[in-house]
Symmetry: C2
Amino acid sequence: MYSKAISKILWYAFCMEKLLNIQEMSKLIGLSTHTLRYYEKIGMLKGVARNEQGYRCYSEADLLWIQFLICLREMDMPISEMMHYSNLRTQGDSTVYERRVMLEAHQDKVVQQMNKLNENLGRIGAKIEHYKGLEKTVFCEK
Amino acid sequence: MYSKAISKILWYAFCMEKLLNIQEMSKLIGLSTHTLRYYEKIGMLKGVARNEQGYRCYSEADLLWIQFLICLREMDMPISEMMHYSNLRTQGDSTVYERRVMLEAHQDKVVQQMNKLNENLGRIGAKIEHYKGLEKTVFCEK
DNA sequence: GTACACCTTAGAGTGTACTCTAAAGCAATA
DNA sequence: TATTGCTTTAGAGTACACTCTAAGGTGTAC
């Protein structure tokens, strides 16, 4: 799941009970430090600990949550919706049902999107074949 | 492929050798008139005929090209890349190979994206199952 | 002790793809 | 002939998700 170098960071961090700084977390998950701060600023990423200097210290729980956020973003969930989900999560177990409904609704959207993508792949596949035919013709006539 | 109402427009338009105005084209393909003008302004949609009043008159060829543009957009091809494709097309048959290469490259991207989507669908699927379990527990304990 | 490389914040700037507005012209209807 | 509803254009505005900057603080290396 992670590269060797990154596994090493994780091992070092969590086995030695050290929290990650923003740079380490950024490298680990592939979001820029800017984006990590942005997600925190808009309230999508709450409760990140700070050290004596006010520097961010990310825990393993933060890591898991950020990975989940990335998963949602990769499925094109808008930030506004992710904020809503995040707020529900903050409210605790009473919102589990609502969260499930949200995820299921998004699941449906992604499935629809994939169907559309498949359909369009077929179309451009046909176009590619058509072009291959044209290329041959041009080649033979030369 | 089209709804009955829209098939009627098409029948009326092409069987009677009438060209479509911007409103009709907009309804037919599901892009706003704004977007149709925008695509023309940036040069992605060239050679749309005009009547004596300077109003746009879309041909069947325009329709097919716009549908292809929509297909590319639905597969998240950036406008800049679509512009490039459009420019190649304008240059004629000598660019067929380059166009095919572009389409194949994009095909690959879409396949990768779909793999990613599938992976993430698995993840949220697992989360949904987890939530279902939690919901049951809460229900039973009450 | 000073250079360098990190961290913090608020807030400004960017890129993409539209989306809308204002001002003006055309055409059918009351 | 005036209203309504369409069309045109250039150009301004919007939404989204970052991405960057400026100004200041901290910590280690020489």
